[in-house]
Symmetry: none
Subunit: 233 residues, 4 copies
């Protein structure tokens, strides 16, 4: 039978655990509050991008509006960083709190960048835009890659809407971009997990865009300039 | 359309990702190999403890056999530590690989300790036995607590078998221990997760042991010496 | 474009495939017919064993009735063997057809054997009873082990019914048998599959039987002869 | 109760099972390692074929690059064969380990062959290319057929991209090939399983290609030479 001394030692130990579990609980509470703000900014930034599917003029205005949320994102990620920096080595302990939101943030930044430049926003550029690169807090590579898959998933709808709006060169641009992205993903040795599953969707996106490109081509709607320019073929 | 320069930059970036993902995959592969060894040692240590439920003599021999596996556990946890130490700050990234096995290891060590001393093996003592306490690799507190829940789950069966074997004082000892453990868990502010669920099981274990204690008492089977000694009540 | 020659070669190849697939389909059809007979015999043999849970006298008669189905089982397994022997190396191609039935057959044979002798029917004895041991057709070890798990699952109910019928020595016999069986399974390095899952159930069966043994002991119902005989302790 | 002799016999039997289960586990471990290599080669070979959808010139170069992986495939299949050859009659016991990868390998080889010759790669030719035909290790016919279904699934996308690139004769070639393939599958008496399900997809692929052919024809884009030559119709 346990002596009373043992009982007190047991209690003392659990009292120490309580402090640590409460501390960890407090971290999670702070993270939840910050991530709730993040959800808000994401929602508004997504809303600001809706017109790209329908505006006749692509509009620097629309992109400027979307980019105007970047400082808010920076502020929120700096709050996340600060919380995690106080707990060295525990980034992955709390990663789940901001993981899915980060997928969407990467999507938003990379989609805006693509609309702006038709190029790929690099992982380093995401970290620069969010101002997060440090020893203790960075953007996980797999989160970045899933964000890119989200961009891919958005593009077929975008292409369909652009063509409807009379922009017949869009399918060629998107098809080239997705084809490059698809090839790049092929470099990776993906294990059978979430990322692999998301990658499998890329092929479907590419195929869909190629079908739109086909429709445009077969009807002779593509600009002759585009097909004639050997630098772009 | 992406320029060729962009296409190459994309490829270079993904090539770098490939290296990092492959590196992380190699870590997981190494962890899996070590954890397979851990599974083996756990299995043998569990087998060595089976006689405690049936041996007429409790047997220092049985406990010595069980303890003889501790050096093997130390070796395996030192291998885990070594792999993780090479990746500062990524303990929780790979934690899932050894989590469930660690629950069982804590159970085995704490059960052996209880059989030996009727006392609780502390978190610090678990780390000392496994020789793991360091900045980079320690036993997560929640894993330790779940291991204790496993001890609790084992005790009703143990009590039933001890009484069957004629050891009528065992229920009182176990009931006192579980009652203390239950009180100690009550100190914690458990969230609605695995640990809370496991804690809910403790109450059932305690109730079951108390029923055995009742059966023994009501039939006048408990030793009068034991009930008469106020120091042990 | 394919030439006509190619079209004909394609057709010739598929014609050959048709023959092979039809042949394999015919094998499956024959197996299905034989396994339907097996289902019938299993059902009758199971029915013949129902009285063991309730008969006051265990009854050589009941066991003899159950054993009377063994020749039918032999006949059916010899038909299975014959079909598979015609297809060297394809035992595991068609294994699924008789797998689950074989679990039950092993259960029935091993349960009858236990009722008869309180001992374990070995894998070799199963093959001898079914008259199947050959190069091309044998009883898969995992199927045998799952059959034993089924025996374990049956024993708690059996013990409860025997005690109800006034046989107070039964729990001790069964507890000893299950405890040995549980220890024996611990020797195996089970992977995380069906067999491992079934093994996890053994512990529950053992615990249940131990509780019945406890009930009998605490009420002083066990025969003193049994507890006094050191050869059986 | 079991005698001690029985307990020891039980243990001896399970010790023998342990050896056999461990041996089978070791086989699976070796297969997993080899199949991980296979995944890598498949990934690279798939990447090498991506340009066929977009290159203006079909490019012997692209096909040569793809074919350059065949020796690696041969090496890996010879390793699989070697492992299985040590276990006569157990090909189908372990078949699941390489089944899905073999579907993709057949797809890759047959697609390259079609790009090269517009003809169908036969089952025998697959085995010759992989250098596997032996008593103990061959390519399962159903795996070959599923690989062909994968070729069919790839062709609509290929046709769409070829037409977009201005190759208006491609739809007719592909339509003829798929039509022959569809007829050939019709010869088979498919059961209600994976293969039947995949075959159902063929019809959709053929329909899609025929629609492209229609689009091209209705717009007068097909070369008159092609339609005029009766040898190719």
């Amino acid at each position: 039978m346990m002596s009373m001394v043992d009982g007190r030692a047991m209690e003392a130990q659990f009292e120490a655990f309580r402090v640590q579990l409460d501390d960890s609980g407090a971290v999670r509470e702070r993270l939840r509050t910050v991530v709730a703000d993040l959800d808000n900014v994401i929602r508004m930034m997504q809303a600001s991008l809706l017109p790209v599917h329908h505006a006749t003029l692509q509009g620097k205005e629309v992109l400027d509006k979307a980019k105007s949320y970047i400082p808010s994102l920076q502020k929120i990620y700096s709050q996340l960083s600060e919380i995690i920096r106080e707990r060295p080595g525990q980034y992955y302990r709390y990663h789940d709190h901001w993981r899915s939101q980060t997928h969407t943030v990467v999507f938003l930044l990379a989609f805006v960048h693509w609309l702006d430049t038709q190029g790929l926003l690099s992982h380093r550029e995401v970290e620069t835009l969010l101002n997060v690169k440090s020893e203790e807090f960075s953007i996980d590579i797999e989160d970045y890659l899933i964000g890119l898959c989200n961009v891919s998933n958005e593009l077929p709808r975008y292409v369909v809407n652009r063509v409807t709006a009379g922009d017949y060169d869009c399918p060629r641009q998107v098809s080239a971009f997705l084809s490059d992205l698809f090839s790049a993903f092929r470099i990776l040795n993906l294990r059978n997990d979430l990322l692999r599953k998301r990658f499998d969707g890329l092929k479907y996106d590419l195929k869909k865009v190629e079908e739109v490109l086909y429709d445009v081509k077969i009807r002779g709607l593509m600009s002759t300039q585009a097909t004639a320019n050997p630098m772009e073929s």
